[in-house]
Amino acid sequence: MTAKAKEIYDQETVATLRTTTTSRLQPLYIPTTVSGRDETGVTILGEDGTGTFFPDSGTLSNVVPLKTGRSLSESQTNAAALSSYRISVESLYPQWEESSEGPGEAIRLLRDATNELQSACDSLCSSELEILNSLVIADGLLFQAIKYSSFNKSFEIALNFCAWAIRNAQGADRERPPLQGMCAALHELQDKPFIDANRVTDLVINLEDQGWDGSSPVSVAFEMALADDWLDLGD
């Protein structure tokens, strides 16, 4: 978020909170119950419905109204949209923090895997063995996380691809751009556990374009066994 956008955001949030029954300033509260599996974002609208602060954050049904009577200009909303402001998944789903099963555990394992991969990125100039070790740990953690990810099939599909891609990593994948691409993908999954199938498809296509290969022994066996004349177009 740019300084100007943040200033406006802070002023308006404070204005909103001060007009409510709560007199003291407190963190913006995002209800933990969301109406849909893909809705992890926050949309903040002005009274006229034009001031969208986080247009990429989904369509959370719980919208926080701004009571300043002033709508945001296009440049302000654009600046906000381009910002790197992220609401952590822990703020959205605090109950997951203490959970040792389901989404909470999946997110914890994913976070550890991301940190491990980040450390592989950081080790690029020092030790090849450290990189390899980080990759082994990261894929192990991701395979663990898959077991807890049945709450969102799209999330599970993405984890599966990333886990195999890291396990299959070749020399070229251990260079900085692909590693950073994978780190970015894992960060996104961490931030958006209710990611939808459409976004996961883009994410996987993007990783494949960077050279990552998510094939597994089962996918290879499946492809090898497909019969030569399999293409029946129903003629």
Binding site: G140, F143, Q144, I146, K147, K153, S154, E156, I157, N160, F161, A163, W164, D196, A197, N198, V200, T201, D202, V204, I205, G214, S215, S216, P217, V218, S219, A221, F222, E223, M224, A225, L226, A227, D229, W230, L231, D232, L233, G234, D235
Partner: protein
């Protein structure tokens, strides 16, 4: 300028729905052209045929408790389904059996796996299907010849199952777009019927596919597009590509046996990737 008119087999291969090496061959073939065109009819065939078979395999696998159960159920379905799509389903069953073989080998070798093969397979099928459908329009430089009847809707993952938004691929009540296009080219269709699809001499057996195509082409000439039977649209198949390919293009397909005679008769160039 070299132009390719792409059929459904090339589209499927390039979209990685037919196994590794076929994809490389299709992509390499496409790179030889400066302009490549996919007709919407190919997207329609892709959706109704191969992609639907993959979706069926994914959804059955997801619904069943094990790969073995999925194989058994798909086998029962293939036995009861009409011929349409049965080969594809059986081939996918073969693919699943290949996975089971691999698992048995791993178990026999005492290998401990840290992943669930069924989940891995489900997720692989899902992402292959989603990627293929998302890339359907970007495999070639252009998608041409829209069909008024074809609903080119998006795929979604709902309740762990894959389904298309908006139901069937044929718009309800719309006249068959493929029949409409062929009707506009009635002299060419008549030429094909006379020269390529003349009935075989008594006692000779011809491919069932050829018999159905002859019948469908006759229906194109005999009926208004609005009355063309919906079930016959797919029977037009390869004839559609041969008739509709622009004269300055090469028809790119892997299906030499069905295309050659028609392409020769109509003076269209055919290219089969190596």
């Amino acid at each position: 300028m070299k132009k390719a008119f792409v059929d459904t087999t090339i589209l499927c291969n390039a979209l990685e729905l037919s196994g590794g090496r076929r994809a490389q061959s299709a992509v390499a073939a496409l790179r030889e052209y400066s302009s490549t065109e996919t007709p919407y009819y190919a997207l329609r065939e892709l959706r109704a045929g191969p992609l639907s078979s993959w979706i069926l395999a994914h959804n059955v696998l997801t619904a069943e408790n094990s790969i073995e159960d999925a194989v058994e159920r798909l086998g029962r379905m293939s036995a009861f389904r009409p011929r349409q799509g049965a080969v594809t389903s059986l081939s996918i069953i073969t693919g699943l059996l290949g996975v089971l073989d691999k698992q048995r080998q791993a178990a026999g070798a005492g290998t401990i796996q840290d992943f669930d093969p069924k989940t891995a397979l489900e997720d692989y099928l899902a992402i292959q299907i989603l990627k293929a459908w998302k890339k359907r329009r970007s495999i070639t430089t252009k998608v041409v010849q829209p069909l008024a009847c074809f609903v080119d809707s998006e795929l979604k993952l709902e309740d762990r199952l894959l389904k298309f938004d908006g139901g069937a691929e044929c718009a309800k009540g719309a006249a068959c777009g493929a029949a409409l296009e062929l009707k506009k080219r009635s002299p060419v269709v008549t030429q094909l019927l006379k020269k390529v699809f003349s009935p075989p001499p008594k006692g000779n057996v011809e491919k069932r596919e050829k018999t159905r195509r002859r019948q469908a082409l006759k229906e194109v000439l005999a009926k208004a597009p609005a009355d063309f039977p919906r079930k016959d649209c797919r029977a037009l198949g390869d004839a559609y590509f041969c008739v509709m390919a622009p004269d300055d293009s090469e028809i790119l397909t892997t299906n030499a046996s069905d295309f050659e005679e028609m392409a020769d008769e109509l003076g269209k160039a055919l290219k089969i990737p190596s």
